[in-house]
Symmetry: none
Subunit: 409 residues, 2 copies
């Protein structure tokens, strides 16, 4: 079982005794696993490199993102259960609120919850003008979020975002990011699509109703993160492991799904601070019955990190520790390996991802004891694993599980 605590890695804070949130948190389960097992540091990419969640998750699953990163859109689409074909370009989208000048008033359209399925049906009928062989697909996912897919040949992910990422400014024009005909054609199609989305949504039934309720209308679709299907060979083929993933975040689910992992739903998993920690751990426990590797991903530490809340972050780490502690007695210690790590550091002092290494613990048969008293970045930096790269994680797990192929004779 690989427990990925999203954004758990942090920097030491003087006012908390030169400890990180993990070092400050009471984590008796992690500490026990760390002491009997090995601990060390892991650079998701390489020292000092700041990875986004897509980049980091790609690396931790053993795919070098410097080679095979294809943008966020394809990962999000896969996480929403949409199958992409090679050549399709997918975009993350927000339903947003703009005024008549196309100035952004609310990037999340009042965090719209209902009516998005109906809006998506309207959107799906848009046909950008003068672009031959383009088939539009569109899905509403969670709340204000959606995925736009350009199906067909001759489109490119090398185009810029329409979403300006801030309010009070005009929407951006989608621009080609290289000189290819495909990028120019894709940018033209995106711009026409966005304009048409405003035309068909401004007086849409759902929005008329929202305005009547003094809610912000979802009167435009703003695109960003264009991406294609990354060329991942299945984890089973690469590392001999059948893999399951318990995660709430679409992006993580997407990376896992493209890697051939089975996505396991857990009741009450939200991707937020209020997630059902124990429910997710129990779902992972059950998935271990018929998978070689189960990835348990918890988003909450990253959420607390982006809020810059040290104590909140420590407390959600404690909740993950507690949840893992609940299922630990049900695992066969003679044959089960438990790993705890983070996909990247999100220091509360930075409120964003940083390039620091993350702590890693590996517990299981034949793994040397670190004898550390606490699982923390401080202890891991003096640990008995040394310093690994994110790309090392799958080979190390596959080797301990006896699934790794021998290279040569």
């Amino acid at each position: 079982m690989l427990v990925i605590c999203d954004g758990m890695g942090d920097r030491v804070e003087r006012e908390f005794g030169n400890e990180t949130p993990l070092g400050f948190a009471k984590t008796p389960t992690f500490d026990r696993l760390a002491s009997a097992g090995s601990v060390g540091l892991m650079d998701p990419i390489s020292p000092g490199v700041r990875p986004g969640s897509d980049y980091a998750t790609t690396a931790l699953l053993g795919y070098d993102p410097r080679v095979c990163y294809m943008g966020r859109g394809g990962l999000e689409a896969a996480g929403a259960g949409i199958d992409l074909s090679p050549g399709d370009v997918a975009f993350r989208c927000n339903f947003s609120t703009v005024d008549d000048d196309l100035t952004v008033i609310d990037r999340r359209a009042g965090r719209i919850e209902r009516g998005t399925i109906e809006i998506a049906e309207t959107i799906r009928k848009i046909q950008p003008k003068g672009i031959k062989g383009l088939k539009i697909d569109f899905r509403a996912t969670v709340a204000h979020r959606g995925v736009l897919i350009f199906r067909g040949r001759g489109f490119s992910r090398m185009v810029s975002d329409v979403d300006p990422h801030v309010t009070g400014v005009k929407i951006l024009k989608c621009e080609p990011l290289d000189d290819s005909t495909a990028a120019k054609r894709t940018a033209a199609a995106v711009n026409d699509f966005v304009t048409q989305s405003f035309n068909v949504l401004k007086n849409h039934r759902v929005n008329v109703e929202r305005i009547g309720e003094r809610k912000r209308p979802a009167n435009i679709v703003l695109t960003r993160g264009a991406g294609t299907l990354p060329p991942f060979k299945p984890l089973l083929e690469l590392y001999g492991m059948s893999v399951a993933c318990v995660a709430a975040v679409a992006l993580v689910k997407g990376v896992c799904r493209i890697a051939g992992a089975e996505l396991i739903a857990a009741e009450g998993a939200t991707g937020g601070l209020d997630t059902n920690y124990e429910g997710k751990a129990r779902a992972a426990l059950k998935a271990l019955e018929n998978h070689d590797l189960v990835i348990l991903h918890v988003k909450a530490p990253d959420v607390a990190s982006h809020d810059g809340d040290f104590k909140k972050k420590a407390s959600v780490i404690e909740r993950i520790d507690e949840a893992v502690g609940k299922i630990l007695p049900s695992l066969d210690a003679s044959s089960t390996y438990v790993l705890v790590t983070a996909d990247h550091a999100t220091p509360v002092s930075v409120r964003d991802h940083a390039g620091n290494p993350v702590p890693l613990l590996i517990n299981g048969p034949g793994v040397p004891s670190s004898k550390v008293s606490k699982f923390s970045e401080n202890a891991a930096s003096r640990g008995n694993l040394g310093r690994l790269h994110g790309l090392d994680l799958m080979p190390v797990i596959s080797d301990y599980l006896g699934k790794a192929k021998k290279l040569g004779f």
Copy 2:
């Protein structure tokens, strides 16, 4: 002097006090060298990656096997003293015993010892039908082992094994492993060669005699591990070091020979548990008189590992320690560096190569003291060298010897 204890790396075993065979063994010489010198972990390739002996030895000599690995055959041929030209394809072969249906009865033909030179003369005359420009070469090496070489142009190492690696099944058909004409042509030639080997050997004089003595006949040649000459630049050119190698295993001798090392014979060196440990160490000592680097390779720990025998493995490590201890007083400590490591881990619990890192010690002038009390994987994991890669070894040695080229100004 670089002492490579084949397969010495291991995992901790609970019943031996959470120690590995090296940690459990009494190794006063290694311990003294480790305490006064530096210790750390080394991943032969990278963490978790399981290397074969060919792959690992290639890496330790400073050649990236992910780039320049060309199969086992070329290395074995070189180890048997055969010169290959670029384009030649070499195969490891066994003299085996099959029945009339070509079902394998004994892959080693009753471990045949005598008569193989005579058999090889017959084999060398085989000319596969319909294959133009192919010159067959064949050498009997040790016991049931031989090397087949296809000399000429337009042949490929990308073909499968005829040897099924188990008994009781039919021999395999050699298949091309890619779409090239060369691979198809090579596979056809191999299949015809193997069939002809059965035809000329079944009633061969040596076999008629063996059958009379109720021994299994060497009535077929089974091929495997097709390979070509790897593109190694000489170690002298790359690292400025003249190198000698004391080894019994053909594969290790082959890698060293292609790298430009002088092969030094040691009396009683067998590649087995019964090897002449002290004789090999004394041969290494002598070779140090006129070489910058001497590699002393001992196969025995790997043999004990494949047998799954923890105590046997510990005891052969003790014998290597003792042999090194015998020659140590004859080395000039003010100018000599002694390194002890393994080419890969072969945990006794796995009985095969694994992806764990191996311990490494470096002792010599200017090397910082680790002050560890015991040379072991546990001590090395907390050592003062950190965690290196196999490819780092030659540059580190070359640098301490003052032979490394400066890159840039």
